[in-house]
Symmetry: C2
Amino acid sequence: MGIFDFLIFNKKTTKRVFLDYASSTPIRPEVREVLRVSADESFANPSALYEEARDAKALLVDAHKSIARSLNTTANQIVFTSGGTEANNIALLGVFEKARERGNPRPHVVSVVTEHPAVREVLNEIERRGGEVTLLSPREDGLIAVDQVVDVLKATTVLVSVMFVNNEIGVVQPIKEIAQAIKRKNKEDGFHVLFHTDACQAPLWYGLDVSTLGVDLLSLDGIKIGGPRSVGCLYVKGGTQISPVMWGGGQEGGLRSGTEHVGACLGLAKALELAKKEKNESSEKVQLLRDNLWSQIQKHFPEASVNGSLKHRAPNNLSVCFPGVDAEHLTVALDTYGVCVSYSSSCRTLKEDSTSYVVEALKPECKGSSIRFTLGIHTTQKDIDVAVQALRKAVIQVTR
Amino acid sequence: MGIFDFLIFNKKTTKRVFLDYASSTPIRPEVREVLRVSADESFANPSALYEEARDAKALLVDAHKSIARSLNTTANQIVFTSGGTEANNIALLGVFEKARERGNPRPHVVSVVTEHPAVREVLNEIERRGGEVTLLSPREDGLIAVDQVVDVLKATTVLVSVMFVNNEIGVVQPIKEIAQAIKRKNKEDGFHVLFHTDACQAPLWYGLDVSTLGVDLLSLDGIKIGGPRSVGCLYVKGGTQISPVMWGGGQEGGLRSGTEHVGACLGLAKALELAKKEKNESSEKVQLLRDNLWSQIQKHFPEASVNGSLKHRAPNNLSVCFPGVDAEHLTVALDTYGVCVSYSSSCRTLKEDSTSYVVEALKPECKGSSIRFTLGIHTTQKDIDVAVQALRKAVIQVTR
């Protein structure tokens, strides 16, 4: 059953194939039920004092605890946010500003060229504020080496931020190894470098035990894991020196002011719980389909190539370069054949130059010719077959 | 029908009376229906390119248009946020930072002592960042005079922020008159002072035509008007010089990055539309009940006094000082009698000193002895009568 069957898209007469799960996932029925029940049972502001407010507060604590269980940490180390973008902003700007406040005049932040705009644009802001940013370039397989990180650390470095699963090309960075290397360096040289990972694309396929990973900060987003929209969270290891990016009532331990949406927090917790429970089965299933998609593409488009390592890659992602093809035109053509894909991050399509800077970092010649296929738990073999048929027609159409 | 009948609180055996609508309002059935339908019809990321994403984008544009209609402005002047706190943060920090960027080394911001923490705490942050803040003190009736504002404006002033309806004491500031005076001063002295109002508590009772009001920035929040949680918006007059507080995909005209929750935006638009349509009838109804509550309180507690002007006050608000009574104890006692109230802003209860700085600004002796009753569209005469009975018992109990 494909996703549009699942959603019972009655108004559509033709079947559609959705292969853009990295952009958005449909909210899961179990999550929707959590939202419904919590909306029925509680509307009070969890910061008030009466019984209904205390009930709401207790549910909010439950949501913290549940997320903490999924990440193998404690409830007070989870900060709810309005999504992955805000979680990344708090992680990066929060650590940067706190370091300045504590007397580091020009805090140094290390990251990677291929990060999501919600990290890249924050790094630009850090530079505008007088910080120093080092952007590492990945190898042609999309990965960075641990030594690349270690080599640029210095006494003024306050943070390293490396994405777990890349949103465009799906490559999986060696988070655990980087974390270990940073800790070693901190110990040897007396540095105080924190490590953040944007893990928004990871939970459906990988375990996120923060103590095993060894990260200090980790961002998650509901929309990427079948959860509610406009809710995410940031894991903040106890003792982390960090400032907020918004000020007000001091909710979420002072790190994120604004009345919490208790239902959405519970919904995110449920989505993460389901992701953790099903990740092995889901991974196996989508990887088979993804590999089949790649086999069929190779057969019909021998000149096509995968962007980034096929081995170190999320099982649901296939980013393919079709040499000589305009990716935007191909995306639009595929849409007319009923297939939904993206040609760079959705968040990039708002920019003037919407070609992929992620692909560019690996294979400059492919930056305007690459399509991202991302599968989800509802993807079927039929979806893959329809997509390949559509591709065959669409590629001819746009190269004519 | 009181609110807890409305919510069918089956699990409660006793009837409860909710008089804390300034803290939270139950989501309206019409809004819930909008959320349900939009969740069924669309899950796509509005920034993607395919049909479903364009549909989501069109719905998002509809939400902008609807809010714009309610405020008598155009769709591109509405920025969706994660709530009132974020809207206030963008308004204040955004104008402050943009002014610094444009060469004003120490931008001056003017506001009032009695503002919500989501303004007060942002002003503290502006001071920490090297800005200059002037906090005006209201008169004993809670109001500020137009001249108080005008007198402190100077060449470096970039922003005046004055709350429309105070969240604790309900007083209504002369927004239109302040706006006119600022414009006159700008013209006469060549100043460039912008005017922001936190109108989160206003839409259920007052019209918010931004051109009549003459404001440059106006904040709204879903939770205060029967809308969805975790969604708000900021009206930003075209041409306003303002920076974001978060960075990323550049959504909402670059002023608020992060994937939009289309359903929540539509829900907020619906709640605002209903508020506008019903405000006259709602105001008349709650004012009668509020006045009745005040009459009964005066009868039973002749020493009680209202905090702030009774005349220039939202029709649903009654902030009462009970001399010699500990407001926190009274709040807890009222809860045991089934009545929900607050003794200062809910957002303040997280602070160590949770007495009311708002009441303190008017009547220092009442800061720890004042209770906020806020009525809503579901409040009934029965609720008022039950509340008064509970008060009679609770006050005796806490003064024993």
